[in-house]
Point group: C2
Chain length 143, copies 2
DNA sequence: TTAGTTGCAAATCGTTTGCATCAAG
DNA sequence: CTTGATGCAAACGATTTGCAACTAA
């Protein structure tokens, strides 16, 4: 079974919650997503598969996914939250083009190491982080 | 004249906008703030000095400050935006305690250098960035 | 005198919630 | 059966906006 399905199942039984076909549909479509998706966008895609699913359920389900540890939420400059999962897709940071909105993902172990150093210095225990670099991508800067 | 006042003045004349005593009041109180402040919090403080200033003006003025380059906006996990200025207080990153909400600021040139490296690799032109480390501070982890 | 500025309230946008109904176990 | 899951619409909190009155230049 997919690790994410297992995570969800575990969380549900731990909290004495129930599974449902709607949750399965939302999970399936969420995992198909490569990058970031907003609740609204996910709702649109989910609707095509099962039009009886309301947006409130999408929000409630994304919250559940986060609690179960299979989704992460971030907010960039804009107001709405963006969600992403870890399936085939572990932690990374973001380069964000302010002109076209393109998001490039990257990893950098050197930066992570420096973060640890800083945390030690401030006696801080890091559980997560986010690093976002804003600017213009190659396409947009050549225009 | 304070650099920030100059920045604002320049921006106003460049865009053919006007100054006003309300804008001056808001700027003065905003610059007295050491760290981050929300629009609502700023509005509360501003009201004490001039109760005729409405919250819409605070929002409009913060937007103006950002455009003029003297304020920055971020959103942490929560929904509302936080504003900060550069007066006595240039760029830095944040350590955020998830338990008590404490925010510690830090700088790290090594990380900045690595960011440049990443940008070059992706042919990206960085204009700004944000790095936030989430976790628990020393006080909260010893509780 | 001519725009830009402002307060107020209404509108908006993303998100959450109360409630009655439905369905999983 | 019992209790959690869900749709719907109303409620919400942060932010924006239309409009008429106000004010800087």
């Amino acid at each position: 079974m997919l690790k994410e399905k297992q995570l969800l199942k575990n969380y549900l039984s731990e909290k004495n919650l129930r599974g449902s076909s709607k949750r399965n549909t939302i999970l399936k479509i969420f995992l198909e997503e490569e990058g970031h998706i907003t609740a609204e966008e996910l709702y649109q895609k989910v609707s095509k598969e099962d039009s009886s699913i309301g947006i409130a359920t999408v929000y409630r389900t994304l919250k559940l996914f986060r609690e179960a540890g299979l989704a992460r939420m971030s907010r960039f400059e804009k107001g709405e939250a963006q969600y992403e999962h870890n399936y085939l897709h572990s932690h990374h940071d973001h380069l964000i083009c302010m002109k076209c909105g393109k998001i490039i993902e990257f990893k950098n172990p050197d930066i992570e190491e420096n973060q640890e150093k800083i945390a030690r210095k401030h006696k801080f225990k890091i559980t997560s982080h986010r690093l976002e670099l804003y600017g213009t991508c190659s396409k947009c800067s050549s225009k």
